[in-house]
Amino acid sequence: MTREEKTVDGFRFLPPGLKAWIRTFIPEEDFNGYIPWTPLSKPLSQTIFSLVTSAGISLKTDPPFDMEREKREAVWGDRSFRAIPKQTTEKEIDVNHLHINTDYIKRDINVILPLGRMAELESEGIIGRLAPNAYSFYGFQWNSADFLNEAIEPISRGMKAEGVEAVLLTPA
């Protein structure tokens, strides 16, 4: 795995306890399994993009992600997903997530799902096109293979139908 000289501390914002605990999940050695890889086949200015986030964003007109069940079952996370149309702003969304402070996203969706910024890049010709939909799921999935079937597979189908060629993922 190639690596530039390290300048980012991935644990900088974690309190000591969380930092120590999360480190127990991260191996010392580099990943040596299969990494899915598709080379970028055309310039950015011709590429169709979509955005995906695990921040628990939903439209106000859709059912919100289920926080109540997670409060009752600490290792359960909502496995569903939502399509977020590309013109959506913070005015049209709910944000539900028990592991981050959601206030900032509610004030500006672009802090995690940069639809506005990508639309600007599209109008300037820097990217080819932003696909009609972005997607949101709920990032807390504690050992759930069902999540792949219930969220990732339909998201992939949706993106394929919209001709998506590159995806930017922003985990919460």
Partner: protein, 103 residues
């Protein structure tokens, strides 16, 4: 992927990781900072063009303006998971403190 904790790429096969030292929940930047968000995005897109091998990590140069100890990112109430594993978290912390002391 733009990620505050790029180290996860050692546990999961991530095609391209753009590592940014920003708090969870705001990987693109601050509320209302269109210029800053755009700069982050442009660098990530540039990485997408330049990355040649699976698993590459790019370290974005941006610095969060607040002291991390004062940066609000955690939920207002402790998550059910953290409550559930609180003892384990405390033990991990203790183990790490002992390791630091013995260095």
């Amino acid at each position: 992927m733009i990620t505050p904790t790029y180290e996860f790429h050692r546990a999961v096969g991530i095609p391209r990781s753009a590592a940014i030292e920003y708090p969870y929940g705001r990987p693109l930047g601050q509320v209302g900072d269109k210029k800053g968000q755009r700069e982050v995005l442009l660098q990530v897109l540039s990485f997408l063009e330049k990355a040649k091998k699976p698993g590459e990590v790019m370290f974005l140069p941006f610095r969060w303006p607040e002291d991390p100890k004062k940066t609000v990112w955690q939920p207002p109430e402790m998550s059910p998971l953290i409550k559930f594993y609180l003892e384990e978290i405390k033990q991990a912390r203790q183990k790490e403190s002992e390791k630091e002391k013995n260095k």
